[in-house]
C-alpha cells in the first residue's frame, strides 16, 4: 500500500538498521530534492541576483507562511480526507478576529487563546461533517464561502488595524538574519514530523489514512481522527494569520488571497498521496520551498502575474501526474 518509511514503526526503540532504513529517502523524496536542486541550479545560472544569501532569505520567508498552512493541511491529506478548500478563509476570519480584539485593547495572550479556540471549533465542525461521510472538497468549499461571508459581515468589509501590539515580534523579529516566521515554519515541520512518528494520535492518523478498514478494525476511531486532522489544519491557518497580523498590524478579508492555491501546490508538489497514508511534513515543507523558489525565479525574470500563475498551475499538474504514475507502478495497478 504505502512506502516502508511511511508505515507506522514500532514504539520500542528502533535498532540502528531500522533507524537507517527510516532515514533513507523514499523515491518521492529523492525526486523532490532532485527537482529542487535542478530548479536552484537552473535559477542560479540563468538569473542575476538569485544565488545570494539575501535572496535565499527572501525565498525562505515567502515559503514560511505557505509552508505552515500546507503542513497543517498535510494532516488532512495523510488521514485520507483529500484536501481543504477553506484555508484562506479560515486564516482570514482568524486574522480579522485577532485584529479586532487587539484593536479593542485585549491582552495579546487572551486574544491568541480565543483565536486558538475559534480554529479548534472550525476544525471540529468541518471535520465532523466530513466524518459523517460527506466529501471533504464539497464541505470545505461550502465552509469556505460561509466563512468568507461571515468575515465580511464581522469586519464590515474594511481593513482593521491593531495599533502597536506586544506580538509584533512574531512577524518581524530577526535572529541570525532570518525572520521569526521562518523559525516558526521549521518548528512546525519538526513538531509535525515528531507527532506523526511518535504520538499515538499521529500514528493513528497515518494508519487511518493508509488503511481505513484495518484502522477501524483495530479499534481506532476514524471520525475522531478526521476531526483531529481538520483541527490541526485550522490551527495551522490560525498560526499563519497570527504571524501576518503581527507583521502588518492589520487584517482584512482578502489578506490571504492565493494562500489556498500555494498551500495546495506545496502539498501536491510534495507528492503526498491524495488518497491518504503517504506523504510527510518534510516533503510538504520542501514542496513549499520549491513553490517559493519557483515564484522567486519568475519574479526575478519579470514574469507577469498571469504567467506565474499559469506556470505554477502547470507545474502542479505535471507533479501530481508524475507522482501518481510512480505510485501506480509501485502498487502494480
Amino acid at each position: 500500500m504505502s512506502t516502508p518509511s511511511s508505515v507506522a514503526v514500532p514504539a520500542e526503540g528502533p535498532s540502528a538498521g531500522a533507524l537507517l532504513r527510516r532515514l533513507r529517502p523514499t523515491t518521492e523524496m529523492t525526486i523532490l530534492l532532485g527537482m529542487l536542486a535542478l530548479l536552484i541550479l537552473v535559477s542560479a545560472i540563468t538569473t542575476e541576483g538569485f544565488f545570494n544569501s539575501e535572496n535565499a532569505r527572501a525565498i525562505v520567508r515567502s515559503a514560511a507562511l505557505t509552508g505552515i498552512v500546507a503542513i497543517g493541511l498535510t494532516f488532512v491529506t495523510l488521514s485520507g480526507n483529500l484536501l481543504s478548500l477553506s484555508l484562506e478563509q479560515t486564516a482570514a476570519i482568524c486574522g480579522v478576529l485577532l485584529a479586532m480584539m487587539l484593536h479593542d485593547g485585549w491582552a495579546a495572550g487572551l486574544a491568541l487563546l480565543v483565536i486558538l479556540g475559534v480554529a479548534i471549533v472550525l476544525g471540529v465542525v468541518q471535520g465532523g461533517v466530513v466524518a459523517l461521510g460527506a466529501n471533504p472538497i464539497i464541505v470545505t468549499l461550502g465552509a469556505g464561502a460561509a466563512l468568507a461571508g461571515l468575515t465580511g459581515v464581522i469586519s464590515g468589509g474594511t481593513g482593521i488595524t491593531t495599533g502597536p501590539t506586544s506580538i509584533g515580534w512574531l512577524g518581524t523579529a530577526k535572529v541570525f538574519g532570518f525572520t521569526m516566521p521562518t523559525y516558526v515554519f521549521i518548528a512546525v515541520a519538526v513538531l509535525a514530523a515528531i507527532f506523526l512518528a511518535r504520538a499515538r494520535a499521529g500514528r493513528a492518523l497515518m494508519l487511518v489514512g493508509s488503511n481505513r478498514d484495518a484502522a477501524a478494525a483495530s479499534g481506532l476511531s476514524v471520525s475522531r481522527t478526521t476531526m483531529l486532522a481538520f483541527v490541526l489544519t485550522a490551527v495551522g491557518c490560525a498560526l499563519a494569520a497570527t504571524i501576518t497580523v503581527a507583521q502588518f498590524q492589520r487584517a482584512d478579508t482578502i489578506q490571504f488571497e492565493g494562500l489556498t492555491f500555494d498551500a495546495l501546490a506545496a502539498i501536491l508538489v510534495g507528492g503526498a498521496a491524495i488518497g491518504g497514508g503517504e506523504g510527510s511534513p518534510a516533503r510538504t515543507a520542501i514542496g513549499a520551498v520549491f513553490i517559493a523558489t519557483l515564484g522567486d525565479f519568475m519574479v526575478l525574470h519579470n514574469y507577469s502575474f498571469g504567467l506565474r500563475m499559469t506556470v505554477q498551475g502547470v507545474v502542479v499538474l505535471v507533479a501530481v501526474t508524475a507522482f501518481h504514475l510512480i505510485r501506480r507502478r509501485r502498487t502494480g495497478r
Binding site: I138, A145, V316
Partner: protein, 343 residues
C-alpha cells in the same frame, strides 16, 4: 396524453423530484409572505436571467458528478472562454461565442481523456487546471478587463432583451440543457456515463468502455462552462480574469440541492434545473430582503453544508453509492461504519 404519461412518471412523478418542486414552492411562498410584491414577473425574469448562466455551468458540473467525478475547473474555464469570446468579437459575435465554447469543449475532452487514461483522481487534476486556467485568463488579459467593441454592444444587448419573463440568453440555455438532458436520458453515451458513475467496478465487468464516458462528461462540462462564460462576457460587454469566481460554489450547491448524487449515477438533468431554480429563487429572495453580497455568500455556503448534512441524515446517499466516489477511494466509508459501530 398516452405518450406524455410515461414521460411524466419517469421524470417528474419521482419522490425526489416532487420534494424539490415542493421546496421551490416553499421558497416562493416564504419570500412572498415576507414581501407581498416578491411574486412578480420581474422577479421571475431576474431569476431566469441568473439561471441562464448558472444553468449552463451547473449542467456540466452535474454531468461530471453523475459520472462519479468532480470538475472543479468550470469557473476558470468560463472566465477563459469569456475573454476569448470578447477578444474574437471581430469575427462576429455568434462565431466568437461558438468558437470560444468549442475551444472550452475541446479542452474538456483532453481533460477527460487525461483523467481516464491516467486513472487519476479528477479532484486533484481539476484543481491543477482550475489554477492553470485562471493563470491563462490573467495571461490573456494582462490581469485587466478586455472590452467588447462599442459597435457590438447592440447585438450583445439583444441577448438579454426581455420577452415576458424570458430573454434570448435563457432560450439558448434551455435549448442546450434540454439537448444534454436528452443525450443523458436516452443515448448510449448517457447510459455509459450513468453506468460508470453508479457502479464503476461493475461497469468494467460488464464491458462498459471506461474512457469514452469520461471524455464525453468532461467534454460536456467544458463546453457548457465555455458557452456560459462566453455568453455572459458578451452580455456584460467585457471579460475579466477574475470573473465568475463564485459560480463553482453556486453550481455545486444547485446540483446537490437538485438531488444529483455526489457519489455518481443518481439524478437527472431535470434535477439540475430545479436545483438551479431553487438556489436562484432563494438568492433573489435574500436580495429582495436587502441581503448584502457577504450575506448571500454566507447563505450559499451554509446551504451547501446543510444539503450535505441532510443528504446524510435522510440516508439518500447509501453506503453503496458512497463507495463509488472518488474513484481511487473506493471502499472509503462503506462497510467501515458498520464495523466501527460494533467495536
Amino acid at each position: 396524453m398516452s405518450t406524455a404519461a410515461p414521460f411524466l412518471r419517469r421524470w417528474i412523478a419521482q419522490p425526489d423530484v416532487i420534494s424539490r418542486i415542493a421546496l421551490l414552492a416553499i421558497v416562493w411562498i416564504v419570500f412572498s409572505a415576507l414581501d407581498a410584491s416578491f411574486a412578480s414577473t420581474d422577479i421571475v425574469f431576474s431569476v431566469l436571467q441568473s439561471f441562464a448562466f448558472l444553468g449552463l455551468i451547473a449542467v456540466g458540473v452535474g454531468v461530471a458528478m453523475i459520472a462519479g467525478e468532480l470538475d472543479l475547473s468550470v469557473a476558470s474555464m468560463a472566465a477563459v472562454a469569456g475573454i476569448l469570446a470578447v477578444k474574437m468579437a471581430g469575427l462576429g459575435l455568434v462565431p466568437a461565442i461558438i468558437l470560444a465554447a468549442l475551444i472550452a469543449g475541446a479542452f474538456g475532452v483532453v481533460q477527460g481523456a487525461c483523467i481516464a487514461y491516467l486513472k487519476i483522481n479528477s479532484i486533484v487534476f481539476t484543481i491543477g487546471t482550475l489554477f492553470a486556467l485562471r493563470g491563462v485568463a490573467n495571461l490573456l488579459t494582462h490581469s485587466k478587463s478586455v472590452l467588447l467593441p462599442l459597435d457590438k454592444l447592440d447585438q450583445s444587448e439583444a441577448l438579454i432583451e426581455r420577452i415576458w419573463i424570458f430573454c434570448p440568453y435563457v432560450f439558448i440555455t434551455i435549448a442546450v440543457v434540454l439537448a444534454i438532458g436528452i443525450v443523458m436520458a436516452i443515448s448510449r453515451w448517457g447510459r455509459e456515463i450513468y453506468a460508470i458513475g453508479g457502479a464503476r467496478a461493475e461497469s468494467v465487468a460488464a464491458g462498459v468502455p471506461q474512457v469514452r464516458p469520461l471524455v464525453v462528461a468532461f467534454g460536456i462540462s467544458g463546453f457548457t462552462a465555455g458557452l456560459g462564460g462566453a455568453l455572459s462576457a458578451v452580455v456584460a460587454g467585457s471579460g475579466a480574469a477574475e470573473a465568475y469566481s463564485s459560480v463553482l460554489l453556486q453550481a455545486v450547491t444547485a446540483v446537490l440541492i437538485g438531488g444529483i448524487g455526489l457519489y455518481g449515477g443518481r439524478g437527472t438533468i431535470f434535477n439540475v434545473v430545479i436545483g438551479c431554480l431553487i438556489l436562484e429563487s432563494f438568492l433573489a429572495g435574500l436580495i429582495d430582503q436587502g441581503a448584502t453580497q457577504e450575506v448571500q455568500q454566507l447563505a450559499t455556503g451554509g446551504l451547501l453544508l446543510l444539503v450535505v448534512a441532510v443528504e446524510f441524515v435522510t440516508g439518500l446517499e447509501s453506503s453503496e453509492d458512497r463507495r463509488q466516489f472518488p474513484t481511487d477511494l473506493v471502499r472509503r466509508f462503506g462497510g467501515l461504519r458498520r464495523r466501527e459501530a460494533q467495536t
